[in-house]
Each structure stands twice: as C-alpha cells, then as structure tokens.
C-alpha cells in the first residue's frame, strides 16, 4: 500500500475517530493533518508485512489525540493514558477481534450487553448506568462482573 492509498483508505476513519472528541472543527482539522504528517514521516520505516496498517494508523491517531489533550491540559478519558510508540495491544486490534467481541456480546443477555456497551464504549460510570437502568449500584456492579466473566469465557 502506498502513502496515498493509506490516506485515501483511512482519512475518514481518522476524522471519525477524532471529531467527536474535539469541539473546535479547526482543531480537528489540525489534528487530522498532524496524524497524516506523522504517517507520512514514518511510512518508509513501517513494515506492512509485520503489522496491520489499520492498527498503526489508529495508534498514531490515538497518541496524537492524547498529546493534544495533555498540551491543552484538558481531561478526557484518554488523557491519563500513556503514549506508546509500540502499541502493546497491536496483536488484538483488528477486524477479527472486533467480530469475536461482537459474537461474544451477542451471547450476553440484553441487559448485560447494554451495560458493557454503555460502560466501555460510551464511558458511563456504573453509578450512572445503575440509575438509568433502574437497578441498585451494587446490583449493577454484580451484573457488570458477571458480564465480564462471561466475555472472558467466550473470548478465550
């Protein structure tokens, strides 16, 4: 894949990833440019046979976003994360794993699935989920732990 192809294939995905977190459209554009500047600079040293282009671009986008939040001293759920050059999660960040996660989630009862998605995708706190889903906080924690245990089983 050439740099141009990478840009064509991932430009929208990068913006889709960045845009919801950034209030100022101009900042989002700047970040988008920063991501692809880094992609361009590192492209010659990136070994496409050893790692997924998707994961590589995602990692650059994520780290760029973390750096942006730190520079602006704005807290975000990413703000506390460490920037890593070699992403420790690279081996699992792919379509196959996402499909496996979807398959595992499909096996969960609706209530557990909603709780997992609300907590891990929408970053809602369990206390808030408990209120919205009309359960006690202690019960919500139980349901959460139960759902996690099942996901661990389904995904091993």
């Amino acid at each position: 894949m050439t740099y141009e192809q990478v840009y064509q294939n991932y430009s929208k995905k990068v913006m889709s990833y960045i845009r919801p977190r950034i209030n100022n459209p101009s900042d989002a554009e700047d970040l988008h440019s920063a991501v692809f500047t880094k992609v361009y600079e590192k492209f010659s040293s990136f070994d496409q046979t050893k790692a997924s282009v998707s994961t590589w671009v995602y990692t650059i986008a994520r780290n760029t976003l973390i750096d942006f939040f730190r520079t602006r001293k704005v807290m975000d759920e990413l703000g506390d994360e460490d920037i890593v050059e070699e992403d420790a999660f690279q081996g699992i960040l792919n379509e196959e794993t996402l499909n496996e996660l979807a398959s595992a989630l499909e096996k969960l009862p609706e209530r557990e699935r909603d709780l997992i998605i609300l907590h891990y995708y929408h970053n809602r706190q369990l206390k808030e989920i408990a209120v919205k889903m009309h359960m006690s906080y202690s019960n919500c924690k139980l349901v959460h732990n139960k759902a996690l245990m099942k996901l661990r089983q389904y995904l091993t």
Binding site: K13, L93, T97, L101, E106, Y121, N123
Partner: protein, 70 residues
C-alpha cells in the same frame, strides 16, 4: 479479557467502525433512547457517523452517548 483490553477494543471500534459491533452499539443506543422522556429524545447517533463533542472534563457529557443527545 481484562477491563483495559475491553476498553481499548471499544476505543478501536470508534476508529475501525466494525459493522457487526456497530449494529450492537446502535441497538443499545436505541433501547436506552426509548427509556428517555419525549423532551430528552433526540437523534440517535448511529455508529459510523461522528458528531461534535465538546472538549470536556473527565466524566462529563459525551455527545455520542444516547442519553445526552440534545
């Protein structure tokens, strides 16, 4: 499958927009939106369509969240 791994997978989903997983996220959004009052109901943001969110303090409003559509 640790919580950290799960969180990272869902974060990657925000980038990769896997259709199957996105459909489940949309279903959850629809279910949760239906539990809101008429005044709180707005559009549901389907997975794959980015919407503007404010720069926000940790734990505050997430515009992609179905409970915070205004």
């Amino acid at each position: 499958m640790t919580e950290k791994v799960l969180k990272r997978l869902f974060d990657y989903q925000r980038f990769a927009r896997n259709q199957r997983l996105g459909a489940l996220i949309d279903e959850t959004s629809s279910r949760q939106v239906s539990s809101l009052s008429d005044s709180e109901l707005s559009y549901v943001n389907a997975a794959g369509v980015p919407e503007m969110m404010n720069l926000r303090p940790k734990g505050s409003v997430d515009r992609e969240d179905p409970w915070n559509q205004t």
